[in-house]
């Protein structure tokens, strides 16, 4: 494996639940409850799972957009989990984010040129005179014409707006980009364009990606490795092919079998999970998945399983999976 760029261990993010009256703390949502992940330079790690599994919160905690409650975040060897704003500033340049909704994440009152100039201004890079050329280069990189700089976000389609979001993330030449469902709001034919663009940029610039997504088919096209989350914990981590064709955790298996395939008549024996994902405010004891797990045993309700490595690069958190 290439050099490790990011190493997250024991990450926890808890949010207080407060009473409506007096704002007293009456509980805790353990949105992220002990996550370990690693990303190497130039690779794509996909973070997958259903709503409420903590994948977005994990991404935001890594970027320090929200404060982690516990745990370690090492970026290029340096511990940043408890850095204050000043010491964090150089790392903010090196890690960027692309959001799901390209309309909500672009300021509607600014021209595209203004949006793309902001990172240079904030980080005092270059001179005002060389900005138009930098912006034009960014727009060309993402497949837009330099004239786009004079227009406003609403004048663009969803796919074009996502290209603008990507251009903004690229401005400071980051080493890591976290994509939070970057193609989920796009139509299929446009989705392919944006996926291809992101892959091309990665190949050209050696970018590392953390792709946060609920869409497993998209993930299977972009990821080198995949981490599957359930209720705040990573239940399985594996190289792409192993995860999609040799998953061992019962949740991963159920998740994969629920993905509809664009092939008529291919009725697989589907493992339909019963019930819904429990609330992260009241997670089940022991293994968080045991209430819906088809193979759960008594032990699973009592003891949370640790991630164990069962093959090179393949870790599973399940009491019942033998190496």
């Amino acid at each position: 494996m290439a050099e490790t760029l990011l190493k997250v261990s024991g990450l926890e993010v808890h949010f207080p639940i407060r009473s409506a009256f007096l704002r007293r703390r009456i509980g805790t949502v353990r949105a992220v409850d002990g996550v370990d992940i690693e990303v190497a330079r130039g690779e794509t790690l996909a973070l997958v799972g259903e709503s409420g599994c903590g994948k977005t919160t994990t991404g935001k905690a890594i970027l320090r957009l929200i404060d982690p409650t516990r745990g370690s975040i090492r970026f290029d060897g340096e511990e940043i989990a408890r850095h204050g704003a000043a010491r964090l500033a150089p790392f903010r340049r090196r890690m960027q984010i692309v959001f799901q909704d390209p309309f909500a994440s672009l300021n509607p009152r600014m021209t595209v040129g203004g949006i793309l100039a902001a990172p240079f201004e904030i980080h005092r890079i270059g001179t005002p005179a060389d900005r138009p050329e930098r912006i034009a280069a960014l727009l060309r990189t993402v497949g837009l014409r330099p004239e786009a700089a004079r227009r406003y976000p609403h004048e663009f389609s969803g796919g074009q707006r996502q290209r603008i979001g990507i251009a903004r993330a690229l401005a400071l030449e980051p080493e890591l980009i976290i994509g939070d469902e970057p193609v989920s709001a796009l139509d299929v034919s446009i989705q392919a364009q944006v996926i291809n663009l992101m892959k091309r940029l990665q190949a050209e610039r050696g970018l590392a990606y953390i792709m946060i997504s609920h869409n497993l088919a998209v993930v299977s096209h972009v990821a080198d490795r995949v981490a599957v989350m359930y209720l705040g914990r990573v239940v399985e981590t594996a190289p792409r092919e192993t995860l999609f064709f040799g998953a061992r955790h019962p949740y991963t298996q159920a998740l994969l079998s629920a993905v509809p395939e664009p092939v008529p008549g291919l009725r697989r024996t589907r493992q339909v999970l019963q019930g819904d994902v429990p609330s992260p405010a009241r997670p089940p004891t022991g293994c968080h998945f045991h209430l819906r797990c088809p193979i759960a045993q008594a032990r699973c309700a009592q003891e949370a399983p640790a991630q164990r490595i069962i093959a090179p690069g393949h870790a599973v958190a399940c009491h019942l999976v033998a190496p």
Binding site: D187, S189, H214, N215, H221, A258, P260, P262, V277
Partner: protein
Amino acid sequence: MSAAASLPENAGAAAAEAPLLSVSDLTLHIPMPPHVLRAVDGVSFDLRRGETLGLVGESGSGKTLTALMLMRLLEPPLAALPKGRVQFGDTDLMALDEARMSALRGRAISMVFQEPMTSLNPVMTVGRQIAEPLVRHLGLSAREAAARAEEMLRLVQIPDPARVARAYPHLLSGGMRQRVMIAIALACRPAVLVADEPTTALDVTVQAQILELLGELQREMGSAILLITHDLAVIAETAHRVAVMYAGRIVEEAPVAALFAAPRHPYTRGLLASIPKIERVPAPTLPEIPGMVPGAADRPRGCAFMPRCARAVSGCAAEAPPLDPIAPGHRVACWNPANG
């Protein structure tokens, strides 16, 4: 079993039967000086008993507007604009006054929406929302309707239906709310169910439950389903026939197997090719459809797909191609269709 009793449930005879719902030349042109938005532009299809017709298309293709028109749910000032016929038995839904339409809506033909939270009444218990159409349409007493509501909740596999019947929608998860929507829509055992992206807002494991449920209820009740979605994988797994919409028109319609195995319209081909599939060795790049969907105000005069089409020929710019049969049960609107 008598022949008369078994006939309506006989799925094998479905193809030969007269359509339950026949939509012809449904059109919604919205004047927006100096333009006219051709949001829906002459959509025609049939829906037969017991079948699921998938209506697919990308955002802005007109699929949801088509559904709202045939349910007569467009609000003023749009409500006055739709043209065309929606033949349901011997009634043209488009010609009914609102009183007669609302007597049918929810009873003979009902709809499930994408976002269950915005379509459920937040200040009415779930049980009352299911019971309401039973009282209104079927004349059940409040007590009978409440019992039926609980039964419906059990049918859509909600655990502890008596408790959920007394709950308000915000207490339920997204999957449970969508089940409640389906229970409301099916309470009067409608002949036609229009489901607009019924699982798009849900997680995949819950989506699988809901799709399975819709299929079971359809087999049991013999309802016809118009399933509107942008997700071709959902279509592949649940629809019998598919109609593909692009820029306000149906560009191809075929039995599901034929459409996926041998799509004839270049847009359908491009769309199918661009869906990511889970494969051992994925292609390094996904096939793209270049460009983007034209807005409803600046659609080309001829075929709306022409500017993005690799198979475009000289006639495509002049005139929009009609949706013509190309094989049994297979229609395509293209001047230069791909080979089957």
